[in-house]
Symmetry: C2
Subunit: 229 residues, 2 copies
Amino acid sequence: MEPIEPVVPHFQEELEELKARLLVMGGEVEEQVRSAGVALLKRDHDLCQKVVTGDGSINRLHVEIDKRCFRLLALHQPMATDLRVIVSAVKINSDLERIGDFAVNVAEAALGYLAHPSVKPLIDIPRMDELAQGMLRDSLDAYIKHDTLLAKDVIKRDDEVDELKDKVFRELLNLMLKDTGITEPSLDLILISRHLERIGDHATNIAEEVIFIESAQDVRHHAQEGDAD
Amino acid sequence: MEPIEPVVPHFQEELEELKARLLVMGGEVEEQVRSAGVALLKRDHDLCQKVVTGDGSINRLHVEIDKRCFRLLALHQPMATDLRVIVSAVKINSDLERIGDFAVNVAEAALGYLAHPSVKPLIDIPRMDELAQGMLRDSLDAYIKHDTLLAKDVIKRDDEVDELKDKVFRELLNLMLKDTGITEPSLDLILISRHLERIGDHATNIAEEVIFIESAQDVRHHAQEGDAD
C-alpha cells in the first residue's frame, strides 16, 4: 500500500517557506528604500513616481505573510524557538511594511523637493540614507544568519541616525532663516530626514527581534524611564 | 483529599487578563496623547516635560504584554477566535507603544514651540488632536465591545486627519514665507501635525485588527496598487 500523503504539509517546510517569503519582502522593501534615495540624489522624477506607486507587491506580501504565520500557529503547536520565529515574523512583517511606507514618503517628499532648484549639495541626508539602508540590510542579514552580534551592531547605529537628523534640522533651519526662497524645498528635506530616521527605528526593531529569536531575551526599552526609544 | 491546583492556570482566565492589561496600556497611552495635546494648547511647559519622561510604564507594559501573548501561545493551543485575539494583541501592543512614542514626540516638539511667542491661534492642530484621540479611543472601544461598525468608522476618519495634515502644512508654509521670525515655531507645528497623523494611522491599524478578530477578514491594503496606506 502507498503511504498516505499527510493533509498538513510538514511544519519545518512551511516554516522555511515563511522565512523565505519574509526575505522576499525584505528584498522588495530594501529596493524601494534604495530607489527612493537614488531618485532624490540623481533628481530622477520618474524613479520617484515609480517608488510612490511601487508598493503594491509589498502590501500583498504583508497580508500573505501574516496569513502564513497564522496558519502555522493554527495547524501546528510550535514550541520554544519555532514559536519565537513565528511571533517575530508577525512583527518583522509589520516593520518591513512600515519601512516600505516610509520609502514611499521619502519619494513623495523628494517629488516636492525636485520641483525647486537644488538648495545645497546634499551631504548629511545621503549619509542618513546610507546608514538606514545599511541598518535594514544588516538586520535582515542578522535574521538569516542568526547573528546576534550583527543585530546588536545595528541597534548601536541608531544613535548616529538620530544625531544626523538633528544636525540636518538645525542646518536647514539656518538656511531658511537666511533665505525664504528655499523654505519649501528645505521643508521637504527635513521631512525626508525624519522618514529616514523612522526607517532606522524599524530596522532597530527587526534587530531586536533577531536577538529575541536567538536568545529569548527581550532587549527593548533597556533604558526604561524617560526614553521614548 | 484536596484537589490538586493545576500548574497551568485556566486559559480563559489568562486570556481575559491579557485583554485587561492591553486596555490598561491603552488607557495610559490615551492619557499621554491627551496630555500632550493639552500641554501644547495651554502652553504648559511642565506638562510637556511630564509627557516626555512619562512613558516608562507604557514601555514596561509593552514588554509584559508581549510575554503574556507568548506564554499563551506556548502553553495552550489556542484555535480560531482565541488565536486571532492573541496574534492581534501582539500587533495592537506594538501599535499602542508606537502611539506612546508619538505622544512623546508631540510633547518634545511642543517644548520647542513654547520657546517662542504664539504663531497664530491654533485651529486645525487641535482639530487633528481631537480626531486622533477620538480614533484611538474608539478603536479601543471597538476592541472591548467587539464592534466592527465602530472599527470601520475609525478607519474612515483617517482621511480627514490626512487632509488636515496637508492643510496645516500649506498654511504654515505660507506664514513662514511671509515672516522668517516664525519659521522655527512653525516647523514645530508641522512636525506636531505629522506626529498626530501617525497616531491616527496606528489607531487605524488597531481598528483593522478588531475587524480581523471579529470576522477573520483582513481589510488592510484594500486599495492595493499605488496606495501607501
